[in-house]
């Protein structure tokens, strides 16, 4: 996962580059929590553009971060979901909590 913080808007972007499962999620979670604590962002966007696989570990990941960011008064959004990732979030009601937003993939 790569992260980018935009100071002016206090926006923290997490670009997930790996497949999300039980095996990979622990490392992603640790890094995300570290960066959230470090920057105290107003908004966090998870960019799924390069995620080729995700199972229910992804639900726990975004809901867990949502709770933390919510506590510090920030918002969480998701971008660039492929069909199967969107299907999983939709099915579990995650989209009602964490909306989809537009985000261009930076080069």
């Amino acid at each position: 996962m790569e992260s980018e913080f935009i100071q002016e808007s206090k926006l923290l972007i997490f670009r997930i580059t790996e497949e999300i499962d039980e095996c990979s999620v622990q490392k992603i979670r640790r890094k995300a929590d570290y960066e959230i604590e470090r920057y105290m962002p107003k908004k966090v966007i998870f960019d799924f553009n390069r995620v080729t696989f995700m199972d229910s570990a992804g639900i726990g990941l975004v809901i867990g971060r949502y709770k933390i960011v919510n506590m510090i008064g920030g918002k969480v959004e998701m971008a660039n979901l492929n069909k199967s990732v969107e299907k999983i979030f939709e099915m579990c009601g995650v989209l009602k909590l964490i909306p989809i937003t537009k985000l261009e993939e930076a080069v």
């Binding site: 696989f53 570990a57 099915m91």
Partner: protein, 156 residues
Amino acid sequence: MFDNEMKLEFLSKSNNEAFARITVAAFASQLDPTIEELADIKTAVSEAVTNAIIHGYEDKTGVVKIVCKIKENELEIQISDNGKGIENVEMAKQPLYTTRPNLERSGMGFTIMESFMDSIEIESILGIGTKITMRKTIKKMEENLEEDDFANSLRG
């Protein structure tokens, strides 16, 4: 009986998850599934394998077994463990039910398996283990094409 069959056994380590789902997907690909069907199969396998590793064996290491069978255009996947078993299967199947909320589990695994596959059976005995059997019929290429033609003709 079956047209094709494969068996896979591996240790209950989470870094075997990708290997397990990719192997099943490779075996399933002889049925010519669409990319979406293949993604659904991989996700369902990942759910069952993760459950065997984190709930079945918890901190212990055991063997996870997968048997895949193909008959005509139906794929059957059995995923089993000799772990601790499920106390109440009906409860476990409920969306959002999880015994490990502290691990950031969402309790959606069985719901995902149910909706991504055509059917799922759960057999479990406390202290003995758990076996999940999932089935999915892969539509033949021509049927997919026919459906596309039909959809296209509706669009005009």
